[in-house]
Symmetry: C2
Subunit: 392 residues, 2 copies
């Protein structure tokens, strides 16, 4: 550009800035109304929560939620707002509402119950359940390692005992519970189910139930969270507990302990193990994490985060989950062998073999592959919105 | 409950329903205002985009965005609305705005450029770049496999040639480009960089640039997307292209081709390979996908989706990325060996060995582990909000 353009360039610049400032002030105004509207919506939903809790309705009503969202999508489309936008915004707002609905407490489904004793109730997951039971009006006692001297006394009047100790001590603790009242409900929260359930059934003649909450102790609400349960004995006697969890918003899935452990072999043991090995591999390769992050696609960024998060947590938990059954290790060995075979193909530059094997696996996934692709696109777009990681 | 309760129960029920209906009507009203506000905000931001595009400002301005969000967080907190809620909502709204900013077109940084020829411009990624160049006012020609008879004619007047063909034919296509005008910029978009760059430098004496867009062809906007670039020759001659991409909102990262390929060995080759093996493993184990999904934690659901999505895509692409360099296969072999060592520990029930190895890797991750944990918590909460997968 010649220097003769400078003056008009600056004039132009000034005009543009003024134009932008006017628009930005208007956006500021819209956003202030948006904040006020969100505050109002949160307050209204809190009132709904209060009414629901007074009447013992579940805080999460899937059909109602789906119908409401469908209506909003229509209204949005009619106003020229993308339907996915309003749905995503409302889902995010609902998350906030679910977590604040905890504040108003929950209806107590079984007010006649004697005390609930949570063994290991000072641990992370135990604490969450203690909190939820208390919010629902139950009397809860916590029994920790140092309290065994008073255990007989505490347990003598228990209406329910919940075992929430680390996985490696679960069966040992269960074996000490021979003195429970006959009608006491005995429950455990461990990530494996066959052995704890067998021990509970052996030590206690009353109602028995195995639970596996499929979420970390850091969730802000149990709404929509999955709890897997394995019936032990006398379902009628613990039906109230399932109802209570439904009121908390939990989705319950019933399977046998055997089915549970088989699925968890993949869902937990193999997953944790491969994340572990990937982390070890990155460290031994002396990977440059900073560069990997800078060059990442959103999908790899997500993968790195999912692997890296493991190493901010307790190794003993992972070791115990993986080592909880010889079946896990055998299955991991099969995984390793299959990987070896795939590497042999690569080393032989057998591109056709790779593609054939790929097609066979694709057939196995069937319609799920396309579903997963759509679902992951949405999740990756969300991950990309965030970029909370600029500071790394 | 005795039957005497029934009457009062129904009366109670009616009162509750009325109470809930009043509140739900109010929520409906709030949501209608919300839709109107979103429509207004999208319209205002579109106007900003139009002004920016007229003046050639980038659509993504990180500092401005950060400042705006910080201000909104403060305002929200003052109104009793969680700061994270307003930030998440606004980020989601901004995504919509970015994608619609495409509609107003982009300022053309280099209006004097002769035509751009995109070889493979009918492929997915090629099409996206053709679209972006045209939106920015460039004249773009597409050269496909069947057009080579006219290639000399089309290329004789090219100001820039972009090679966007599949990875396995990239170098072969580049080798045909000996006839480009001396000042023509030669660019490729392949996922590996060393070899294509070497071929481009060998065949063409003018400006050369290697690009690797780190996103799929299905993104709705290039705002915040990463493009890695490797300088080839005569940076001054293609500086305008980098500026043009910045106007599209792209984040550019410069590395050497060597550094790029080393990082991609982990980011792409190993990642694709392990997803492939995991899918093959699930199919050979005859895993019950329906049950796995029902019992999944959000984190495993995400993992399944990330693996399953692979199998909705083109195996040849993955084979070629993995096989693009012997280094990839060697590194994958090391990964396999490390996994074998870890399995030996498990088979020996060496819990302490596992924990020690874990701690070493944790040390390698350092502060990143905690950062990844926080980041993944946020992403998992988002994934949990969605649950678009009820239908599966």
């Amino acid at each position: 550009m010649s220097s003769g353009h400078d003056r008009s360039f600056f004039l132009d610049d000034e005009a543009m800035n003024e134009e932008l400032n006017v628009l930005r002030d208007q956006i500021d105004g819209v956003d202030q109304q948006l904040v006020a509207l969100l505050a109002r919506r949160l307050a209204l939903v809190a009132e709904v929560g209060e009414v629901k809790s007074r009447h013992g309705l579940p805080i999460y009503a899937p059909d109602r939620e789906a119908a409401m969202l469908a209506k909003r999508r229509e209204e949005a489309t009619a106003s020229g707002v993308p339907a996915d936008l309003i749905e995503d915004v409302l889902r995010r707002v609902m998350r906030e509402s679910y977590s604040s609905e905890n504040d108003s407490g929950f209806k107590c489904v079984n007010p006649a119950l004697r005390s609930i004793v949570v063994i290991g109730g000072a641990g992370q997951l135990g604490r969450l359940f203690v909190h939820m039971f208390r919010l629902s009006g139950y009397r809860v006692d916590v029994l920790e390692r140092g309290d065994w001297a008073q255990a007989d006394e505490m347990l003598a009047d228990a209406g329910m005992v919940v075992v929430a100790v680390p996985i490696d001590t679960t069966c040992e603790v269960i074996d000490k519970l021979a003195m429970l009242p006959a009608d006491c409900v005995l429950v455990d929260l461990t990530s494996v189910k066959s052995q704890p359930l067998a021990h509970m059934l052996a030590v206690h003649q009353g109602p028995v139930l195995g639970l596996h909450p499929m979420f970390g102790p850091d969730v802000s609400s149990l709404a929509k969270q999955v709890v897997v349960y394995c019936s032990g004995r006398d379902e009628a006697a613990y039906q109230w507990l399932l109802d209570q969890m439904r009121i908390w918003g939990v989705r319950l899935h019933s399977v046998t302990a055997e089915e549970h452990d088989e699925a968890m072999s993949l869902i937990q043991a193999l997953r944790h193990f491969t994340s572990f090995v990937y982390g070890v591999h990155l460290s031994e390769e002396q990977a440059d994490l900073k560069r990997l992050l800078a060059l990442s696609s959103p999908i790899y960024r997500l993968e790195l985060a999912m692997v890296g998060r493991l190493f901010a947590q307790d190794p003993a938990l992972y070791a115990d989950i993986i080592l909880s059954s010889p079946r896990n290790v055998q299955m991991i060995r099969r995984y390793h062998q299959r990987m070896g075979e795939a590497i042999n193909m690569l080393e032989a530059a057998d591109r056709d073999g790779f593609i054939q094997t790929f097609h066979r696996a694709a057939e196995f996934f069937g319609d799920y592959a396309g579903q997963f692709l759509r679902e992951s696109k949405m999740l990756l777009a969300q991950a990309h919105d965030s970029r909370h990681h600029e500071s790394l």
